[in-house]
């Protein structure tokens, strides 16, 4: 029963920090809230019996990917100039209509999910089972993921070069 409470606490923390992350004006503050949300997700992964996925969530998502965001925010050194326009754009007239449309879709999902009363299988699926599955039936997906990461590497290298702007727009 205590563990069930842990799940709901982690879910609440995840939801609140995600809402805070989406509504912040400052990108660095939003990033910190997003990291909290990811850590709460990692706790949920551990609780439902996926410890390897929880470790990957902390190491890769909250570690590597968020550090990329931190690097970019530090490189751009934004300061307070962008906050003024965000204040203008976050007036209720700007966000009410998309939010209502999304909430309609969400209500449909809630209606569909409310029909099932199944429980999760309370068993831990450890790293060994994941590895056997990953390099057994899913080995082609691993190859595809490696090709995707290679393409991302080449693309990021190309986009990060400094002469790209000069060649296209003709100004220095």
């Amino acid at each position: 029963m205590l563990e069930l409470g842990l799940f709901y606490i982690a879910a609440t923390v995840s939801l609140v920090s995600t809402i805070m992350a989406v509504t912040r004006y400052n990108a660095a503050h939003a990033l910190i809230y997003l990291i909290i949300s990811l850590l709460a997700s990692a706790i949920i992964f551990y609780l439902v019996g996926a410890p390897f996925a929880a470790v990957l969530e902390v190491v890769i998502y909250a570690g590597a990917i968020m550090v990329l965001f931190v690097f970019v925010i530090m490189m751009l050194n934004l300061g307070a100039s962008g906050d003024v326009q965000e204040h203008v754009l976050l007036k209720p007239a700007m966000w009410v209509a998309p939010s209502i449309l999304c909430i309609i879709l969400f209500a449909e999902i809630v209606y569909v999910l409310s029909k099932s009363e199944q429980l999760l299988a309370a068993q831990v699926v450890g790293p060994k089972a994941v590895g056997l599955e990953l390099f057994g039936p899913y080995v082609l997906a691993v190859e595809i993921a490696s090709m995707l990461l290679l393409a991302a590497l080449v693309g990021a290298y190309h986009l990060g070069r400094s002469y790209f702007v000069d060649a296209r727009s003709g100004r220095s």
Partner: protein, 105 residues
């Protein structure tokens, strides 16, 4: 290692749907490219959560395998997205995505 807990499956999927919806609203509403990329990360993470919960329902490892593939997709997406962000900032001196809505033919 202690046993996992038997939470109701629809509560886990409901949490994933809520996180996905918050991320979707973020993509639709925000105009800062960094915040849009972060909202996309929220959406991908919600998809991963749904896969993990569905895999835990049957007690199999396929959900975690799919989560790892989503993880690699997120890494590729964010590296390309941040490269594009740097180019936009270099060209327009701003992170407002409305500055970059004209196509140059």
């Amino acid at each position: 290692m202690n046993d996992a807990i038997a939470i109701p499956m629809n509560h886990g999927l409901l949490l994933a749907a809520m996180l996905f919806m918050i991320g979707l609203i973020g993509v639709l509403v925000r105009r800062n490219i960094i915040l849009i990329l972060m909202s996309l990360e929220i959406m991908l993470n919600a998809c991963g959560l749904a896969f993990i919960v569905a895999g835990a329902h049957w007690g199999i490892a396929d959900g975690q395998v799919m989560f790892m593939l989503i993880l690699s997709i997120a890494a590729a997406e964010v590296s390309i997205g941040l490269g594009l962000l740097l180019q936009v900032h270099r060209r327009f001196r701003s992170l407002d995505i409305d500055q970059a809505n004209r196509m140059v033919g």
